[in-house]
């Protein structure tokens, strides 16, 4: 137990140091922006990893919750006069309620049927967002008011770097702790064998639903942060391709590995930025890199590499 506590503490400490030290080597505010994008995607991916890696349920429509969080902070202040900070909470609560309501029937499904149901849910929500243009600005998107906290106007790439970094730390801390609670253990039991979990008295339906709701709230808060940071939001953030990106981050980094989700986000967010120098070959290379890394590191980057190191250390 002491060792585990230590490991958890070490993970958080290393992450905090990385967040604190990176700005020392950043040559321009562009790097702050890209890094903030990494922290936001990592936050959403950690939530999804709780659902996929720990509870073993797939979601191909998770960007919908990201979109709900993003549009809550866009629509709330603009159309309804809700203060921006409160709109974050409204988005999170909306996402949680929606996940709770649709989670029960959806999570009864298994395998590919669960995949298509979550995919359908995601597509539906994205469609509503891009169609109800009176509220959402339609496919063109809409501007987002700046976030003000206690009279402090949060803006600028550097400021958002620290805000999203702090959010990621909190999200990581919660996820790491969850892993060691009875709920976290129930999730892992579900992942290993649903039947066995049920036999030892785990309320399978309840825990699946909990994981789904937690993942939805993570995505929603990440969405809100991105909307504030960009000052603008469009329906692509809620779309199928963004859902796929989130799932790819989780699987690429390593299912069930929280550090993996952060590494996966770093790879998948910075890669397209780096590949823009190849202009039209960008998508071709991105697809190629996804295929090759999934073939050679099918368990994900972090578990594959740490497995390699452990084997080296033993031999």
């Amino acid at each position: 137990m002491g060792a585990l506590l230590n490991q958890r503490f070490m993970t958080l400490a290393v992450l905090a140091v990385v967040i604190a030290v990176l700005p020392l080597v950043f040559p321009s505010s562009y790097y702050f922006r890209v890094a903030s994008l990494v922290w936001v995607s990592a936050l959403a991916a950690i939530g999804l990893n709780i659902l996929m890696g720990q509870a073993g349920q797939v979601s191909l429509g998770h960007a919908a919750f990201f979109g709900i969080g993003a549009y809550a902070v866009a629509i709330g202040p603009t159309h309804l006069g809700i203060p921006p900070w409160a709109a974050i909470l409204v988005g999170a609560v909306l996402s949680a309620v929606l996940a709770y309501l649709v989670g029960r029937p959806i999570l009864r499904l298994k395998g590919h049927y669960l995949a298509i149901a979550t995919l359908g849910l995601g597509v539906l929500i994205a469609l509503v967002i891009s169609t109800e243009s009176g509220w959402t600005g339609g496919p063109d998107g809409m501007p987002v008011e700046r976030l003000t906290l206690f009279g402090w106007r949060v803006s600028g790439s550097n400021t958002w770097y620290w805000v999203t970094g702090a959010l990621l730390l909190i999200g990581t801390w919660i996820a790491l702790n969850l892993d060691e609670t009875p709920t976290g253990r129930a999730f892992r039991a579900l992942h290993d064998s649903e039947v066995a979990a049920q036999v030892v008295g785990v309320d399978v339906a309840r825990f699946k639903l909990q994981a789904f709701v937690i993942a939805a709230v993570y995505a929603s808060i990440a969405g809100s942060a991105l909307a504030f940071m960009n000052g603008f939001i469009n329906p692509d953030q809620a779309g199928f391709l963004h859902s796929v990106e989130l799932v790819t981050i989780v699987v690429l980094g390593g299912l069930g590995s929280i550090v993996g989700s952060i590494v996966g986000a770093a790879v998948l967010v910075t890669l397209p930025q780096a590949l823009t120098i190849f202009h039209e070959y960008e998508h071709l290379l991105l697809g190629l890199i996804i295929i090759v890394s999934m073939i050679f590191m099918r368990n994900g980057i972090v578990p594959s590499l740490s497995g390699l190191f452990l084997r080296r250390a033993r031999s």
Partner: protein
Amino acid sequence: MAEFLQFLISGLTVGAVYALVALGFTLIYNASGVVNFAQGEFVMLGGMVTVFASAAGVPLPLAAVVAVVAAVAVGLLLHRFAIEPARGASAVTLIIITIGASILLRGLAAIIFDKQFHKLPGFTGEAPIDVLGAAVQPQSFWVLGGTAVVVVALYVFLEHTLLGKAVLATAANRLAARLVGINTTTIMALAFGGSAAIGAIAGILVTPITLTNYDVGTLLALKGFAAAMLGGMGNPLGAVVGGLLLGLLEAFGAGYLSSTYKDAFAFLVILIVLFAAPQGLFGRRAVERV
């Protein structure tokens, strides 16, 4: 009545394309257990290669053959270099590989061809035919007829040839199939090639009606996957029925309810069907082995 008929025929036409995509999905899924999200790219390739080959002066029928051959080659390469090396990986990993393949193919198409929309001329003219008051494009009959031919040909192949039966055996039980001497790797390659051909044919047939560009594959793959699930994954007949049903739903939904939410009906119905029948309409109730 004329309006109803109009929606019916346009629904069946779109549905036939969904059915072909779903059929391709099912073929690959049955042979290899892979859900191939690059299925829509075969449809895109079918349309795009035909457009560019015929623009280069190749007569249309020959251009169509070239397109099918190109798609089959891509399907075989996909199997050889992306699916085969990842044998034994988890279902989600394989899904992500096929999504990576679809991003790659889309990027490749944007470079080799372009990002514009393209149209093919109707195979037998463009003048609408009057069917009991409904104006029907002659190409609709080509789509419906072509789909029927593909479905019948696939049925005959699977049920009445030795190779087809080997495909069915591999689908039923891969290990047992290998034990009786079936080369399951060849069968899987065959499934990818066949599925690519079916997708390309769908793309060629429908391009005169819906246009094509490098990006049409994504939504088609989603709809095809949805159609396959609606019918019950792994059931070829279910895939065809699911596809037609999805097309009809969209056409009638767009016609009578709301055209802006055309794409929503399909997914709404799928959610409702899955809530009521978690194995799809024609799926077998799975018994879980512990």
